[in-house]
């Protein structure tokens, strides 16, 4: 019986794959046909001679700095607002505020960064400002939820001890709860920053600044040489962030 159900599931998956190819009308044979393939190869060849002139490299450097600045400030804003929302979301101020804050965090998190960026371009105009705001909004949802969970899991005793000694609520939070929480918060913030650097480099496709916007513009103008340099810069950025984060994780985060 169990076998039959599994077999039916596998058949269903196979049918779904065939159905999707036929629904989309993709003919792989035609796609790999000689005329089409020749065109693709010719298109790819135009990317093989990246434009390495000094002026273009300078523009790319500026774009990369813009990308990093967008991700850093977006993450920082998200950390501040995330912490502010995490306090009610962890149930510190009663249940009505708790469910309201959770709803807000879920809504912020559910919309992808790129959609936020498209909305922010409408609200704030083209440029990196829109990208920063979009990253901040989405990341606030993610960090707020992670912070709220961390807050709920910290031991309450140190803060209670300070309260019993006569310290007010703010001091109890700063000196009783925060020291326990801080390493975890920092780890979450750095992890999201890493994600956001990668995201910030493509937000420009909807006009939100950074390397993505350069790539979009140069591809729209059919300047494949310039575009391929931008892609190389993106690759370098991603690889640098990856190796930096894995190195720092091995160095500082002890399992």
């Amino acid at each position: 019986m169990n076998r039959l159900i599994n077999l039916a599931l596998l058949l269903g998956i196979g049918a779904a794959i065939i159905a999707s190819f036929s629904y989309l009308g993709i003919d792989l044979g035609e796609l790999a046909g000689s005329g089409n393939l020749k065109q693709m190869v010719a298109y790819a060849q135009r990317f093989l001679s990246p434009d390495l002139s000094a002026a273009h490299l300078q523009a790319i450097g500026r774009g990369a700095l813009e990308t990093i600045a967008m991700s850093a400030l977006g993450t920082l804003l998200a950390a501040v607002f995330g912490l502010l929302l995490a306090l009610p979301a962890a149930g510190r101020f009663g249940w009505p505020l708790k469910s309201a804050a959770r709803l807000l965090l879920n809504a912020l998190r559910a919309v992808p960064e790129l959609v936020w960026a498209a909305l922010m371009v409408l609200a704030a105009g083209l440029g990196p400002n829109a990208g920063t705001l979009a990253l901040a909004l989405h990341t606030t949802g993610v960090l707020g939820r992670l912070f709220a969970e961390a807050l709920e899991n910290t031991p309450p005793e140190p803060a209670e001890a300070i309260r019993l000694q006569g310290g007010n609520a703010l001091w109890a939070f700063c000196y009783g709860t925060l020291p326990n929480l801080l390493p975890q918060l920092l780890a979450y913030i750095l992890y999201r920053w890493e994600n956001n650097i990668r995201m910030a480099s493509v937000l420009g496709f909807v006009g939100a600044g950074g390397l993505g916007q350069m790539l979009y513009v140069s591809l729209s103008l059919f300047q494949e040489a310039q575009a391929s340099t931008v892609i190389l810069a993106m690759l370098l950025l991603v690889l640098a962030v990856d190796s930096l984060s894995s190195w720092s994780r091995q160095r500082w985060v002890k399992a």
């Binding site: 065109q39 813009e66 400030l73 609200a123 690759l235």
Partner: protein, 275 residues
């Protein structure tokens, strides 16, 4: 007698670190042209206010619902077809890149010979390249090469996900007990047979759950890729945003959320059933 000391011993290093961080981030404000004021300024506030206030009711005209269903089906089909193509590439690549099937490793206590390592590197390099370029960049490139529409999305997912799946599969093969496969190889079996009887039984569950998880990611990715013209819900959302049709945007967003929730449930069911 003890006196009350209100000094915070950690205050000075904290202050210095904060000042350093601010000094490092200050040029960032200039580069990112950060201006929170735009959200509160008069004209843009009224503009975004109009846009958001028209979110309710979400568009539900018959024609639009038909469009919505088509776009949703297209998104699902892009993710499924892309994953199928990615698997076609990823499975052979992972077999080539994995150290688990190395003949020299079987007789050298699990360490392949330098030659074997050298020959595996090109495959690994290709996989790293495929997955390091974000999928939306591939989508943008393919839209230029094969035209607007779902084909570009399918190819972009196939390329990026074959890189990810190939790498992770190869690592999963290496992570299980290597002794059964080594025993088979040393007894003279072919590599494929050693893989099928020595490694596959141990890794099948993990491979499956990772593949299903990636399918779920592919659905989210195919929505986002629509913004550069690769079909599906994203393309419709881009169009509606450009026409300031906020009711349509609202129902598209709701559909997207429902799709993600459904995919989550379905992948949980598949993992529970097959793993």
């Amino acid at each position: 007698m003890l006196t009350r000391d209100s000094r915070d011993p950690a205050a000075r290093p904290r202050l210095l670190l904060s000042l350093l961080a601010i000094a490092l981030l200050w040029p960032g404000i200039h580069f990112s042209e950060l201006d929170l004021g735009v959200l509160l300024a008069g004209d843009s506030q009224s503009e975004i206010g109009h846009f958001v206030s028209a979110f309710w009711p979400p568009a539900h005209g018959e024609e639009f619902i038909q469009l919505l269903v088509q776009a949703t089906l297209q998104t699902l089909a892009i993710a499924t077809a892309g994953m199928a193509l990615a698997l076609l590439l990823a499975v052979p690549a992972s077999l080539l890149a994995s150290r688990a099937l190395s003949l020299s490793a079987a007789s050298r206590a699990g360490r392949p010979s330098p030659w074997g390592q050298l020959l595996r590197w090109p495959v690994r390099g290709v996989l790293i390249f495929l997955r390091s370029v974000p999928e939306i960049v591939w989508a943008l490139l393919f839209v230029r090469a094969v035209g607007l529409g779902p084909t570009a999305g399918v190819l972009a997912i196939a390329i990026t996900y074959s890189g990810m799946l190939g790498k992770v599969y190869a690592e999963i093969f290496e992570s299980v007990d290597q002794r059964p496969a080594h025993a088979l190889l040393q007894a003279g079996s072919g590599r494929l047979a050693a893989f099928a009887y020595g490694i596959l039984p141990n890794v099948a569950a993990e491979l499956l759950s990772y593949t299903v998880y990636r399918w779920e990611c592919a659905i989210r990715a195919s929505v986002v890729m629509g913004f550069v013209g690769a079909g599906g819900l994203g393309q419709q959302m881009d169009l509606s945003l450009r026409m300031f049709a906020s009711g349509e945007v609202a129902s598209l967003l709701l559909t997207f959320l429902m799709l993600v929730l459904l995919a989550d449930q379905l992948s949980r069911l598949l993992r529970w059933r097959l793993a």
